[in-house]
Subunit: 704 residues, 2 copies
């Protein structure tokens, strides 16, 4: 270990640990933590530190860290809050490089704690140390070279491939317990507490390089730096599956909801978008998290979505089939050879099709033969084995047979022994040999759906963020101007801003009198739409402020005076300043684009179909800025009404590329001008001809 | 017991049981079943029957049932299939009244088995016996007066309040095991196998009268008699909550899908509709079933949806809050008195609002005080207690404290001790005292959502099936006529049929020549729509076969000749027989009504909004005929686009009563004429004025 060490190595791979606040008293954190480290067989020296005891647990106890004669890599601090600063100084002077501060009473405990935590952080940085916590539950590294079990919980986690971050100590403890119960092993664990120094993102970067960590689980309550998380996770998740329980869905900070887009974005939509874009699987419960982690950590990811089911009872087979289809997976269709092989080996089988029902008389031999047959079938991507042990069948032999077949074929296999204890010998045998054994078949299928989602994500092209040539200067000037008049941009100016970023807009001109009107009409060309242009009138249509489908000069002039009258009626005493003249687009589908600012996650981009789809059905899709090409493609395709764009009942498909491009250009716009708080394009006409696609109306709110 | 006995009493409350096919050999069904009955402490005589043994399990063994000297109430038959008939004869002659036939190889085993099962059933009926099975796993009655454990499984179920029916032996066995694991007790259990005689419906009727059965669980693969099930369940579910796992969702029999309605109805929609209408809770997994059953069987149903959460750790509190909001429940808002009471009792509590976070130092006293405070708050309908046991807190004392508070306040309470074994003393203490203890808080919330759904259902008014005055004779004549020409009814005739059942239709007339046309125009009144009337032309609009908004005689005549030309172009050589003249309806919302025949469950009624809502979004609702007033109301209100009907953005609400009435009249129509296979009304204009609501087009398919 003479090479340069990662600073976090002093926390997760320490050669020596001081436990400051160690205690011999039962029921104290200082006792439990020391006990866990020693019982866990830590592969280094442990130094209890406590001025009140000369010896603890038969180990010499020091009154302060500075007295320890040897080098100390890591200090775990359990002393009361008001002693923490002194201990940190002591550690700093001693040359300790890593800290885990268990002690609570900092940021989570009001203003005084916030101030203390700030000081703590400064001190730690000043000494060049790294710190986990404060207010945390500890860390674990099961690596046999290290064996550091530095928590005060009751569970000694099993060794395995999972890196596990918990933002809540209590959740961390109960999750470690549950993982142990189902035989799931972890590589490293950290309860990150208040994250004053080491963050979840730091751990992700650390575990990216850790060959023993192959899957990452996180229980999160918030993201400290969502942008950084996304950047790390987009890449890391392709190599190491990441599974997150993100709580606080419904308590998430509120968001400015003045715009249309803002009012459509649920409070939690930012997190969903972030995780989806980063390829991180979000699950809604701890149970689901571990079911999925079991699948990832024990077996390879199936090459596709086609599942084979082998059972010895009809009912569970049906239940599982139901779940397979409901979760969007499919039943593999067996070849004739496969069916023949099953028929020969298990003549009494009730069903040779998928699900294969071997009936209750099936023994190890029958299971082995049927399993070998379906594993050999190239149409099968993964196999679910269900076994309800009948009284006269040797359960261990069946489990052995599953192992044997699995070792010959490398396809992933998942089992459920129903009506059997979690600790029964056949279940243990399977788990000990990396065959997942679930209590319920539904849990297998749910996990398979997660694996399939991961497979599809992993196959996504690397993120590309196109950069368009735009007129940034023109856009900037319009935005500056808007800031001087309340921060709103409407009508023609908003369309011009879109135009500056290469977003097609419908030919539009302002006309303040009949002469200008006729000039504009000739320039734009019939048919035309005339709209009253006054920001005070929000619902123009309702007061007769829009007249469409004007085909002649006469109609246009007539409409102009009608609009003037409507205006004067609606706003008595107001000054009629003219109309917006626009080419009328016929045909096509009305779509809606939007941007709203999520306070935690930055600009949220929205796409949907116009009118009732967005108003009533709320059929819209969201992603976070910056959008990759893939993100934009997924946004357009994920609205339910997508068939109306792709050619429904013989109608021509619209220019979907163009819609994706608008999203990417909007993302570039909001990236260039973070002062854009809200933007709604409603409607944008999507047409079969590229040249007719155009924004018709737009509304922008800028921070002033 | 001298009073008249229910025939099923001889099966579930026998005074004596013969086990025909009993055996001393380990690993045989005959041994396990006999063993279970004896070990279970059956409160009557057991007679082993097997010609090969003089004694089994120290009990005299008879060579046939007829030899038993005493009366025999129930015979359990385990002999090989080909001996079953002989044994049944023997039982019949002996006067046995109840049979449980475990033996398989009947209906499930091909044509020969089907025939045998038919004979078996006839024999049983002939002797006046009742039979469970064949091909089943047995029956259980835990009533202390009876104690009949007549299955060959490994689980002796705990006594409790749940009646449990399983159509699959394997699922039954694994479910009994799981119930025992989580401490859930059952009253009676039956594996009903092939249901040759006793059906699930029979058991429901039997358990309706059983005071020990308070909750009913069913694992079903199909409904033998769905109509009867609905009839029983609509009433029974109000008194005894019913929970169903119905498998075979995706394997359900296919349905004629020629009509629009048919193509929209998913294969499983009939079951969902049936259970919803009957007030039966459908769950998608066994785990969910038991979680819900635990809640129903241990606690009363909460009086509302407002939940209080008391926790000693922030993370689990947040997770639970998330689940509460996501599942459509709500967090109770505490009164100031409640908050003050918590503050006084637990000064260090981190949060006095809901969820109450007592932090890790909370002991039994703190839990007791906080719980008492929230239980006393009238705004609280139910309480979730989360407890992550810290090392220095007495877990048993906390559990005791929960019990104590619960005994004082009668409000339902649900607990989750996280990171603690299912068998640990505090969990056992809670469960033994009827306090549900779940492994995960999410399971509590999911169950609470089920309870709330049940509460709302139970508050539904009793089903009313209105009967309208209709012209049944006229409708019958139209249907008879249709049968002679291919079974299709379109255009004017279909509208007349609707009219005969009091469903408003738009004023419509046929016109075969210009004179008739003008006469019709005058009679109906402008504006008008003209449509080519030829069943061979399905997509009339696409070939220019519809001309709308005609306001003068001239326009009408002109349109007539245009339609004639379109017709001749589209169908060269066809005979133009005239047009359908209809009043044009302006405004209003297009809706769609439909009927399609579900082969298993009868006529399925559909309602939705027209156009893209039904075509693309598939935003429709389904219920099974016969519709109650409540059903019709729920159908109209459960489409997502309902806001468009109830007055969206200042538009007037349409006549929703009228839409409900159309549904009820259609239900009456299909009830009177079961030969109606398919019916689509598309569109039906729903308008703010009752007199303008009208069907515009209709298509009916009749069985010929």
């Amino acid at each position: 270990m003479s090479e340069a060490r990662n600073p976090l190595d002093y926390i997760f791979r320490p050669r020596s640990v001081a436990v400051v606040g160690a205690s011999p008293k039962k029921g104290t954190i200082g006792r439990e933590l020391l006990h866990n480290i020693i019982e866990g067989g830590f592969n280094g020296s442990v130094f209890p530190v406590n001025p009140n005891y000369p010896v603890i647990h038969s180990i010499k106890c020091y009154s302060k860290v500075g007295e320890i004669p040897d080098a100390v890599d890591l200090a775990i601090i359990i002393v009361p809050r008001d002693f923490v600063m002194g201990v940190v100084d002591d550690c700093g002077k001693k040359g300790v490089r890593g800290l885990v501060v268990i002690t609570a009473g900092f940021k989570e405990a009001g203003p005084k704690g916030v101030e203390l935590e700030k000081q703590l952080k400064e001190k730690v940085v000043g000494y060049g140390m790294r710190m986990i916590g404060p207010n945390c539950f500890g860390v674990v590294n099961t690596n046999p070279d290290i064996r550091l079990y530095a928590t005060f919980g009751k569970t000694q986690p099993l060794a395995g491939k999972i890196g596990f971050i918990s933002q809540s100590g209590a959740m961390g403890e109960s999750m470690l317990y549950h993982a142990q119960q189902i035989g799931l092993g972890i590589s490293q664990f950290a309860s990150i507490g208040n994250k004053a120094d080491v963050s979840g993102n730091d751990l992700l970067e650390y575990w990216r390089e850790d060959s023993q960590t192959e899957v990452i689980l996180m229980y999160l309550e918030n993201f400290g730096n969502p942008l950084k998380f996304t950047k790390i996770a987009r890449e890391l998740s392709r190599k190491k599956p990441m599974i997150v329980v993100k709580s606080g869905r419904t308590l998430a900070g509120s968001r400015a909801a003045v715009s249309h887009t803002g009012s459509l974005a649920g409070l939690d939509i930012g997190v969903d978008a972030l995780l989806e874009q980063a390829g991180v699987l979000r699950v809604s419960s701890v149970e689901e998290m571990f079911d999925l982690a079991t699948a990832f950590s024990l077996q390879t990811v199936p090459a596709g979505s086609k599942v084979a089911i082998v059972t010895n009872a009809g009912g569970p087979g049906i239940i599982t089939t139901d779940a397979v289809v409901q979760m969007g997976l499919s039943l593999a269709k067996f070849s004739d050879a496969t069916k023949e092989a099953i028929r020969t080996a298990v003549p009494e089988a009730a069903n040779l099709e998928n699900p294969v029902d071997l009936i209750a008389t099936a023994d190890a031999k029958a299971y082995g033969a049927a399993l070998a047959a379906v594993m050999a079938d190239p149409a099968v991507d993964s196999v679910i084995v269900l076994f309800v042990p009948p009284i006269n069948i040797d359960q261990m032999a069946v489990a052995q047979s599953i192992l044997e077949v699995h070792s010959r074929f490398k396809k992933p296999i998942y089992t459920s022994l129903m009506g059997v204890s979690e600790n029964s010998p056949p279940v243990s045998l399977l788990r000990d040999n990396s065959i997942p054994a679930y209590a319920f078949p539904e849990s297998i299928v749910k996990s398979l759906a997660g694996l399939e989602r991961y497979r599809v994500w992993s196959a996504r092209p690397e993120s590309v963020f196109p950069k368009f040539k735009v007129n940034r200067k023109a856009a900037g000037e319009l935005l500056e101007k808007a800031k001087t008049c309340g921060g709103k941009i409407l009508g023609l100016e908003a369309l011009e801003l879109l135009g500056a970023y290469g977003i097609p807009v419908v030919p539009s001109k302002m006309a303040g009198n009949p002469d200008e009107l006729l000039e504009a009409a000739v320039k734009i060309g019939f048919p035309l739409v005339l709209k009253i242009n006054d920001p005070k009138l929000v619902h123009k249509t309702e007061i007769g402020g829009v007249i469409a489908d004007l085909r002649t000069k006469e109609e246009v002039l007539d409409a102009y005076s009608k609009l003037q009258k409507s205006y004067e009626k609606a706003l008595p005493g107001g000054k009629f300043t003219g109309v917006l003249v626009q080419r009328m687009i016929k045909g096509g589908v009305e779509t809606v684009f939007g941007i709203t600012l999520d306070r935690s996650y930055g600009p949220l981009m929205m796409f949907g179909l116009g009118g009732v789809f967005v108003e009533v059905i709320k059929d819209v899709s969201f992603r976070l800025h910056p959008l990759s090409k893939t993100d934009a493609g997924e946004m357009v395709r994920s609205v339910k009404a997508f068939p109306l764009l792709s050619g429904f009942r013989g109608s021509k498909p619209v220019q979907i590329d163009k819609l994706e491009e608008v999203l990417l250009r909007l993302s570039q716009l909001v990236g260039d001008f973070p002062e854009i708080l809200e933007l709604d394009i409603n409607p944008f006409f999507a047409t079969p001809e590229a040249e007719n696609c155009a924004a018709v109306d737009c509304r922008i709110v800028v921070s002033v």
